[in-house]
Symmetry: C2
Subunit: 321 residues, 2 copies
């Protein structure tokens, strides 16, 4: 059987790198990598070319010729949160090229559209174009990563692994949250994109569904340290979000301000609205990747936490943020 | 087993009346009817009270007390196209009351959101609120009715049955369209709302999927008359829609102008985009009511057309438009 021809956009990002490794290890895909013209000469891209991946330079700021995507069966997009709209020309070209599965850049927490998370709504705009085009698709959401879901320890022992390190306790701390190890996104995606059951469906990946209280208890038990949790009330996060929105409105091209807003909206959705749960995912029509692939054993949060306690692991976005 | 307590909003409309008859004939529902305070004394509402239905007067222009909806298991909304936003307070109250199935006012053709049909987008705004509330729901779309899908005959024989009577041929006339007899909406809804498989799902009903060419051929064969079809090109409908949008923008509270726009957007979606098809419905994640209820034999378009050729039937919206 010939290999499925996959084009991956965003292979040098955190999620994209996981996808690339997952597809490469799987062995059943012929993988090409799409990059922006401005990125074609970056060391990270040259390193991928050196590993033998075909590199396609595509300018998504204008109409993309269908012929560019004609060779591919499956197209996967995993790009920066600030670049979601660049997928619109990508999706149009995929439709014109007859791509049989388009995986837009999902890969976030489960959350309904309509003003809860600006980042979600930017993605939904792309999804709506996909639906208008009748373009075959699979939307994959991954919950929150283990790598950004653990608290700092008083000893400072885990500081080197922290990208989002804080010891706030949002609400009562009991909201369950879907979690996936960043390294498992790729293996999940490899299974999902060759599965006919996931065509024209939304799928969520997860290893655990844990509350902050459960995470704190586990962290204290495994580390032997006592963590000082800082309660954060609904009114406080509402005030923070209002302020963050005002800052974005006053300076709409400032990506740093947008990221500040997005991170607070994640917290609102995860901890107060309780959107990022298995129950809500099923309610919203997602398929459960753990049910689809019972053979695959994702890395649990506890396994991940033990690794970093032993000093193993990498901080996400190392060298970038 | 006690009967499911259903509250129906919009029972005096065309779709609502079909739903009411379907639920009443089914026998497994305890049916109440919600009306606006301004409608409570209308003859049509008094006639329903005389038949023994409980009538609830609810003002949807303001917050609705949860206690009003607490007695009901299932709430169904079937209201005029111009009143979609009045469902927002209704949905919020349903959530607060713990209603276990909310059926918002769908009951139109299959079509993706995002600027194709203003009427669809008004409904999607309600759906998005439902999703944000995590309110249990079933969305039911019914394609286009037999009753408004047949052409006029040169003899004028069918004129009394015409609400939308025209002999245009949109595009090449080959776009397939999902059709449901207006009278079958109720029996379909009765089955759908007691079916656990349809909870938190979209469902489409249909008897036939027919193109204009198939409908014209059938009408000519059964009537023995020759119909003069008037070709209507994509550019023509685009121009008509542009003009209709300008008219609505200039006079946004004029319902007549909105209806003019909606009817052309139906045509664009049905005949040029080919959205109202089984294929697109399945692509968009709808369940097929004919597959769910193989025991139910919906009235086919041919059966309906034979009836009106024999002079049997009622014009939709008789006495109203």
């Amino acid at each position: 059987m010939s290999k499925t021809k996959v084009l991956l956009l965003g292979a040098t990002g955190e999620t994209g790198a996981s996808i690339l490794e997952g597809l490469a290890r799987d062995g059943s895909f012929d993988i090409s990598i799409a990059v922006r013209p401005a990125s074609a000469d970056k060391p990270a891209v040259r390193a991928l070319a050196d590993r033998g991946f075909s590199i396609l330079s595509i300018d998504l700021s204008k109409k993309v010729n269908a012929s560019v995507l004609t060779p591919f069966d499956t197209v996967i997009s995993s790009i920066g949160p600030e670049s979601q709209q660049s997928q619109l020309n990508f999706a149009r070209a995929a439709k014109a090229a007859g791509v049989t599965r388009f995986v837009p850049c999902g890969f976030i927490t489960v959350c309904p559209p309509g003003g809860i998370m600006a980042l979600r709504d930017a993605k939904e705009e792309v999804y709506n174009l996909i639906f208008k085009l009748h373009l075959p698709y699979t939307i994959i959401d991954t919950g929150f990563w283990h790598q950004i879901s653990f608290p700092p320890l008083p000893s400072g022992k885990l500081d080197e692994f922290h990208f989002l390190g804080e010891n706030k306790l949002y609400g009562d701390g009991n909201a369950p949250n879907l979690l996936t190890d960043l390294r498992d996104i790729g293996p999940f995606v490899a299974r999902i994109i060759r599965d006919p059951r996931t065509l024209n469906k939304k799928v969520f990946t997860w290893s655990d569904e844990l509350s902050q209280n459960e995470i704190y208890a586990l962290a204290e038990k495994l580390s032997g340290e006592s963590i000082d949790k800082k309660p954060f009330a609904l009114e406080e996060i509402e005030a923070v979000i209002t302020k963050a929105k005002q800052a974005v409105d006053a300076d709409p091209t400032n990506i740093g301000l947008q990221m500040g807003l997005w991170s607070q909206e994640y917290n609102m959705s995860k901890y107060y609205r309780e959107d990022n749960t298995r129950k809500v995912a099923l309610y919203l029509g997602y398929l459960d990747a753990k049910e689809l692939y019972p053979d695959f054993k994702p890395i649990t949060f506890e396994e991940y936490f033990k690794e970093i306690l032993e000093g193993k692991g990498n901080r996400p976005y190392a060298g970038r943020f």
